[in-house]
């Protein structure tokens, strides 16, 4: 009962924040890639110091198990707390055939170590804690992610991105693994002044079962005004364990 109340409270707070942001002005930057905005890969750059940003996404997934599907809503708040450092809070909410971990509150921080040079990639480390505030969740699960970004072709602003994440499942349930990983390789480029296109491949070891999923994704990030970015992305499963497909609509605005 307590958990349900907490979930509703968190959801209300995050969506209220989205609503508030919608009523004021927003400086999102379409070239600064964020996880799930609208595809998995992210770049190694933090949001600017003192920038407040609100993000949200809606994702439809056709799961691999028969006719099952689910819809995910995820509000997120991001803040440039120091130079080269951002903190984030987000929570996924699921409806449909699989709502496990719906309402888990995630607290994260990303630190960018360096601007890329002609030879060296930009590097960032991200840490995240998933709190067991959601459906069927147990234990506080920490994640550590290494992120690399390198420009490979200046003319079209083509960049490659590598994300390697490790998650420790603190209280694994029956059939759950305690060590999880996700590897993402992505490529982005600029077809026009206000548009960034991203393609990535994700390989992720799931919590349950023995297999890992592989997913191919593509998405576009469109700058609408100086402070607003919209994203649209899709992904198809590359193996039996992966979702058949998924479609994501994302939005972000700065205050």
């Amino acid at each position: 009962m307590k958990k349900e109340i907490l979930q509703k409270f968190m959801g209300s707070c995050l969506f209220a924040a989205v609503g508030f942001a919608a009523s004021v002005v927003w400086a999102a930057d379409h070239s600064n890639l964020e996880e799930d905005q609208p595809v998995s890969v992210e770049d190694a750059f933090a949001t600017a110091y003192l920038n407040y940003e609100i993000q949200g996404l809606v994702r439809y997934e056709k799961l691999d198990t028969g006719d099952e599907d689910r819809l995910m809503f995820q509000p997120m708040l991001e803040y440039g707390v120091w130079r080269n450092t951002e903190v984030q809070v987000h929570a996924p909410f699921y409806t449909g055939d699989d709502d496990k971990h719906s309402g888990d509150l995630n607290l994260g921080a990303l630190y960018n170590f360096n601007q890329e040079s002609v030879m060296a990639p930009a590097t960032a480390l991200e840490g995240e804690l998933a709190l067991p505030t959601g459906e069927g969740s147990h234990g506080v699960d920490p994640t550590v992610k290494l992120i690399l970004t390198k420009t490979v072709e200046p003319e079209s602003f083509s960049r490659v991105h590598l994300n390697a994440a490790y998650t420790y499942n603190a209280r694994p349930q029956e059939d759950e693994r305690d060590h999880l990983y996700a590897l993402t390789a992505g490529y982005s480029f600029r077809p026009g002044a206000d548009t960034i296109v991203i393609v990535d491949v994700l390989r992720e070891r799931e919590r349950e079962g023995d297999e890992a999923i592989s997913l191919l994704e593509a998405g576009v990030r469109q700058q609408l005004d100086p402070l607003t970015v919209l994203g649209l992305g899709g992904g198809v499963g590359l193996n039996d364990e992966a979702p058949d497909y998924r479609v994501t609509l994302s939005a972000q605005r700065s205050f």
């Binding site: 004021v24 002005v25 400086a27 930057d29 070239s31 750059f45 933090a46 949001t47 600017a48 110091y49 003192l50 920038n51 407040y52 440039g80 130079r83 080269n84 630190y111 960018n112 170590f113 360096n114 601007q115 890329e116 040079s117 002609v118 060296a120 590097t123 480390l125 840490g127 234990g139 506080v140 920490p142 550590v144 290494l146 420009t151 200046p154 003319e155 602003f157 960049r159 420790y168 603190a170 209280r171 600029r190 026009g192 002044a193 206000d194 700058q223 609408l224 005004d225 100086p226 402070l227 700065s254 205050f255």
Partner: protein, 452 residues
Amino acid sequence: MKSAHVRICRNYVFLVGVFVLTRSALGWEQRDEVSHPQRMHNTAFFYRHNAAYRYASAFHYYHAKQHDVLQLTPLSEHEKIDAWFDENVRSFTVNQKARTEPTMELYGPYTAMLAWRVYRAIDWTHIHHEQTYDILSDRGITWDRKGERTAQAVDYYLRMNEVARSVAPLDITMRRAAVMMKPYFGYYRNYYPRSARFAFVAHWWHPVIYEAMMIAGNGDEQQRLVKEVDRTLLEQVLSDPPRRMLLSRELMPRYARLSPESANIFDNLHMLHGIVYDILAYEGWTEDQKRAELYRVVNAMSYQQGDERYARLFSLPHPEQDPRSYDEWMKGYEGEMNRIMEEMMHEMMPMMMPKGMDKDMEDRLWAQFRMKLSPGLEEGEIPGSLHDALMQLMPDMEMAPGSAEPGRTSAPMVDMMLKGWQKKYQNLPPVEPYPMQQEPEPSRQVRAGGES
């Protein structure tokens, strides 16, 4: 389980330490980006004057792309590249291809990897540009509060980021930068004249937009006057671009009186663009040497404590200038920018030619000087930089240590020029503040046809 969490935290901290040490050992930069201030006026310019906003975006596209074009293409092909680039940026501008303002990295990513601090300075100042346009565009900010809000924007700009441009007039910052005897000085203007003149178009447009708003007030007249300035851009200025960089004090005398700090910041940014392009176009230095020189100039022209006391020390040669009018005096060599350059040359000469020179040599020197400060290579002009030309005319010219090397400054030379400025201008009366108590009526602000 607890021990596992501790182990993960320990490993995380260890990884962070390794990266920090690696970064320090290799001298890598960080991005250190800072957000615009969160204000209700943000995006007012975008929504109220969207066509004008798109021209501003196109000019920033030009600025961004120009960096990589100069750095990544050979000087030997300058004519072809200059023609292609000029056509490219004109098309981009006229067709308003950017909906939002690009950051420098978006169209100049190679230079972002080479010399990030240059982009920090430029992007940060572009944010200030946008803030000040927003303030004038926002109807919710009453006319009598525009000055106060602009002063707050200047304060945020100076306080939050160490790459802020100086609020001192260009007369002072150019003397601090001491670039005239560097082996790159003039390369961009001389070898890429069409592109350089496009910059002069951009640096005409930005100030006159402020000035259009200054004579229009907060009401609907503002849209009409901004559109008239855009028409002047398309119908007159693009087809016959200026041949020198025009300064804020020439083009936006009213706004320069309202916020001399902001006006000087923009002149200092616009001049920085030109110097950066000179350095990138020059092929005599390695990338490391170019970076050292770029950062020296960025630092020399940045805000220094106490610069405020110089902010109003400039003259207003055209105090009633009509921003919609593209007058003859805007097009040629004669003007504030080249006056500053000529003064600096006079101030340096006793150090470089202590024995003096005869009249004939002096005439030849000034003839070369004027050609070097004009776009393109003219008949009789010695190729290369101003330094190359002077050395060919006067092989025994004495160069102060640091005056030509990358990343170095000749302190005695800077000192001599600053003393020269003080001697000439220390008694200059500061420009008067601009009265903002009453909203303007455009018909009373300018005389028909522009200048009085």
